[in-house]
Amino acid sequence: MKIALINGSPKQKDSATGIILNALREKIGEAHECVLCAASSQSGRDVLEAVGGCQALVFAFPLYVDGIPSHLLRLLDEIQHDITGSSPGAMVYAIVHNGFYEGKQNITALEMMRNFCDRSGLAWGQGLGVGAGGMAGAAPVGHGPMKNLGLALDKLASNILGGKTGPDHIFEPNFPRFLYKATAHMGWRMQAKKNGLKPKQLCDKPFLQDKDRQI
């Protein structure tokens, strides 16, 4: 089976999307051909050529402003009329992960991917809505806080290889929300410090008149 894994992160390396797709690649196994595409560096024409003959297209991306990142959106907009010619009969699967805790906040973006399928004539397979996707590198996928992610990818890989559809699966990490929030806040402050900022400068209001600023 030939499967396209389309990375919709704007980051060339060290992305949560990349970690998730690598884990899915392992679960699909070496017996199947996986074509890797990067929406941040490949044109619509490049992607159409690369996914030629694929039976499954897996789009994975981070949630940006409640939707699809603009560079991936541009790619989807470009290929929507030609993708069925390139990979006729392919089933589309989507993995959306966000920086919030709740997986359900990815539902709107998953709907957009379904709408892409409607417009392009491709069949919708299944969507995963991954909460707290930034934790993907916190532990090996399938273990500890990433246990739910591993289980979801097991099922997704099975559906892809079987050419099956499945209900969208929305889930959170195996990690409490209050700790995720506290850890994220601590992480922001630590990164600010590395950048030479004081924590309170993170809340600067750069575009207001001086009298209205609270620094």
Partner: protein, 169 residues
């Protein structure tokens, strides 16, 4: 007087005929020519708080946001959301909010950087917008309003760009 910021992806000639001219009431920001897309660096949160670090006119929109009472986005609808050009502008504007989280409606969302947040209005156009895409757009603006801190929001759908002038009236 309510100050309104219009973000649009219209061709120049259409914008000139359909949109109000720049004035104390209206600011207009064109999403075209396309901006560089957000690269996910979080520099607008962690290096130059509130400002996008990419050096192009994209950071100008983020500077205008806190100075207005309403943001009106005029965009071709794509898959139930904004066009790539309009979306690139909003993706580049998350410095308007803080990286920190709050819990609202039982969900995690970002906290405000500025005390006041503009209302949000989407005017979406396309020749064959379907009901499913309209539902998606309703969810999108609801989520965007919550995350940008907008108290009031609305979305309307139009089959031709000529209807935009009426929608703005």
């Amino acid at each position: 007087m309510r100050k309104k910021l219009i973000l649009h992806d219209l061709a120049r000639e259409d914008a000139e005929s359909l949109l109000p001219p720049e004035s104390p009431e209206y600011s207009v920001f064109a999403a075209t020519p396309s901006l560089h897309h957000c690269v996910g660096c979080f520099g607008c949160w962690l290096k130059t708080p509130g400002k996008c670090v990419i050096k192009d006119r994209g950071s100008d929109f983020g500077a205008l946001m806190p100075l207005h009472d309403e943001i009106i986005v005029i965009s071709r609808m794509v898959f139930g959301g904004l066009s790539p050009d309009a979306k690139a502008v909003l993706d580049r504007s998350i410095g308007f909010i803080l990286p920190f989280f709050r819990i609202a409606n039982g969900e995690m969302h970002h906290t405000r950087r500025y005390e006041k947040s503009p209302d949000l209005r989407y005017i979406l156009y396309g020749p064959d917008i379907n009901d499913r895409e309209k539902e998606t757009a309703q969810k999108l603006i609801s989520g965007n309003a919550l995350n940008f801190g907008a108290k009031n929001y609305s979305v309307s759908f139009h089959s031709t760009i000529q209807e935009i002038k009426e929608a703005l009236a």
